[in-house]
Each structure stands twice: as C-alpha cells, then as structure tokens.
C-alpha cells in the first residue's frame, strides 16, 4: 500500500530524482556531530517555526477580526470571551510573535559572531537585515489592531518618531496614517500591511534566504 502510493506519486513528480539533492546534504560536524547539536545553529529554524505558527493562528484571528475603529475592539473581545479556544489562539499569536523577534535577533547575533556574513554570504546577510526589519514591522502594525488604549497611544508615539526622520519623515507619517491623524484609514492599512503586504514579502525573501543557505552550505567553524 505504502509502496504503491510512493510509486504513484513518484511517477507523477519524479521526486526521487531530486530528493537527495534537496535532503541529503551533509551538516558539518561543528553544527552537529550526530550526538550533540550546537543550538545556536537552530535559531533561524526556530524563527521560521514561529512564523508558521503565526500564519496559522493569524488565519483564525482574521476570521473574526474586523479592521474598523467601531468594531475592532469588540471583535477582539469577542475572540477572547466567546470564540472557542479564541483566547488561546490569540495568546499563541502574541507569544509566537515575541518569540520570533527574539529568535531573529539571536540568529543575527549568531551569524555576526560566527563571521557567517563574509564572502560569499554578504547578500544573504543583507536579505537577513531586511527580514529583521520586516519582522519588527509585523510587530508595529500588529500592535495597533486591538484598538485599545495601549495600541492607540503606542502607535501614536511610533508614528511621531517615524515622522521625525529628516526629509522623508513627514511622508512616511502620512503614508502610515493614510491621512493626517490616526483613524479608520490607519487601521485598515495597518491591517492590510500586517496580513497581506508583509506576509507575502517576508515569504518571498525567506525563499531566497533558504535557497542561498543551500547554495552556500553552512559557514565554517568559528573556534
């Protein structure tokens, strides 16, 4: 049965031809010697796992959330109080987000101190910094969505700070707010950025990031 299924799929996909080159690349001994794995090399993977958890829990939240000033707060309260498992799903989304930022920062620190940004990996470092900035942008846009006091006022300060950048600041501020103040336009565009723009951009960049890691292999020993 298993054999038949395997053959049916393989006839149609020719997966076995590519499988070894996808999956059988060796991991160098300073990363894992078969008994012990150096955990600093898992941080990128941990960040990726958090992202997957965020996508899945985010899908469920999006089924109930309403991105307008009149309804946003009540829809979150509905999720917290009425929806089965709603409070848990929202809390998992919350904690996975914080965990992802922490993992990305630690991953960046690991890449820095192992010198893994050196040739030929410069481009992947640059993509990495973009991934880091996008990850924090996820946090910034997500913070407004509950439309409670903290959300509103923390975003007000964040936008003020962004508007203080010389020359481009006032445009960034207007662009973020969708006008001259935080209101319905701000909320709907933060929602669009948080659930469409950033996930698509991050996914594309992650694809390039992972392909480059496979092309280069993991960097050499640092000690």
């Amino acid at each position: 049965m298993r054999r038949q299924l395997y053959e049916w799929i393989d006839k149609r996909t020719k997966l076995s031809k590519y499988w070894d080159s996808i999956a059988k690349h060796p991991v160098p001994p300073h990363v894992s010697d078969g008994v012990r794995t150096n955990p600093v090399y898992c941080l990128g993977g941990i960040a990726f796992l958090c992202f997957i958890i965020l996508v899945v829990t985010g899908m469920f939240l999006a089924m109930y959330y309403k991105p307008t000033p009149d309804e946003a707060y009540d829809s979150i309260r509905y999720i917290m109080e009425e929806v089965p498992m709603g409070a848990f799903i929202r809390s998992v989304h919350h904690w996975a987000a914080n965990m992802m930022v922490a993992a990305v920062m630690l991953h960046m620190i690991r890449v820095y101190f192992t010198g893994a940004y050196k040739p030929p990996r410069e481009l992947n470092w640059v993509i990495g910094v973009l991934l880091f900035l996008l990850t924090t942008a996820f946090g910034f846009t997500g913070y407004l969505l509950p439309w409670d006091q903290l959300a509103y006022w923390a975003t007000t300060i964040g936008i003020q700070i962004n508007s203080g950048i010389p020359i481009v600041g006032s445009y960034i501020g207007k662009l973020l707010m969708g006008g001259n103040e935080i209101g319905p336009n701000t909320l709907s565009r933060f929602y669009a950025i948080h659930t469409i723009v950033l996930p698509i951009t991050l996914t594309l960049l992650l694809g390039i990031h992972f392909i480059l890691v496979r092309i280069h292999g993991i960097s050499g020993r640092y000690l």
Binding site: A23, H25, P26, V27, P28, P29, V31, S32, G34, T37, P39, C42, G45, I46, L49, C50, I53, P69, R77, A87, F88, R90, S91, V92, H94, W95, M99, V101, I109, Y112, F113, G115, Y117, K118, P119, V126, V129, F132, T136, G139, F140, P146, W147, D148, Q149, L150, Y152, W153, A154, I157, G158, I161, N162, G164, I165, S219, G220, R221, Y222, L223
Partner: protein, 134 residues
C-alpha cells in the same frame, strides 16, 4: 562539496524536531499562563501613563531619551532619530562590506568581536534606559 558530516535528512532534522517541539511547547505554555491582554478601548482624548512600545523598540525609545545634545543646526531629537532609525540599520546592512577581514575564527577578529559586544551591550543598555526613564 562537503563529504564529511551528518545527512541533513533525516539525521539532523530529527534533532531539530526535538528543539522545534520544545519551542512550540514553550509558546503554548506561555500562552496558557500569560494570555494576551486587552485594555480599555482606544480613547484619542485621554493619554494613558505609562505607554510602552513593544520591547524590541525600547532601545530606540531609550536612545531618544538619552540623546539630549544639539549639534550645529541639528536638534537633539532629530539627531537621536537619525542615529537610531537611519544610521544604525544602515550600519547593519553594511557589516559585510565594512569588515573585510576574511578570518572567521573568533580569536583572529578581535575588533569585529569587540564592536559586536559593544553593540549588543548598547542595545541592552538603551532598552533598560527606556524602561527606567518612562
């Protein structure tokens, strides 16, 4: 390429899976013990105190409080924003192009290691500064 080493699949991935389960379990545990909060509805006419940004923006926040010096025509606030929001990310992007030392051994790149430690320490310092001076 390399011949030595452990095959990524399934040997290495199996070890990763253990770490992944631990990560997922900690997220679920944290979510059960400390649910996400929801304060009063937003009120544009009443500023609450204190307002904290997400913890990973606190270093910017702290730095803006810390930097109180005008330089020439540039106001302290503008300078603080330029340094923490423009120069710092720019510097991060440029790391591989600034550090041209091909050595990857920690012991043979003292300057890069020192700068890295200083940067991490500074980010931690300004994060704490941002909390204390709220």
């Amino acid at each position: 390429m390399r011949v030595r080493g452990l095959a990524f699949f399934p040997n290495f991935l199996l070890r990763e899976v253990v770490i992944m389960f631990t990560t997922a379990a900690s997220i679920f545990l944290l979510a059960s013990l400390f649910p996400a909060s929801l304060l009063e509805p937003a009120n544009p006419f009443e500023t609450p105190k204190p307002i904290f940004p997400e913890w990973y923006f606190l270093y910017v926040y702290g730095f803006l409080k810390f930097w109180t010096w005008d330089i020439g025509p540039l106001k302290a606030k503008t300078l603080g924003i330029i340094i923490s929001m423009v120069l710092f990310p720019l510097l991060l992007f440029l790391v591989p192009f600034i550090d041209r030392n091909p050595e990857v051994n920690l012991k043979r790149r003292p300057i890069a290691v020192l700068l890295g430690v200083i940067t991490v320490a500074a980010v931690l310092f300004f994060t704490i500064y941002g909390i204390i001076f709220e």
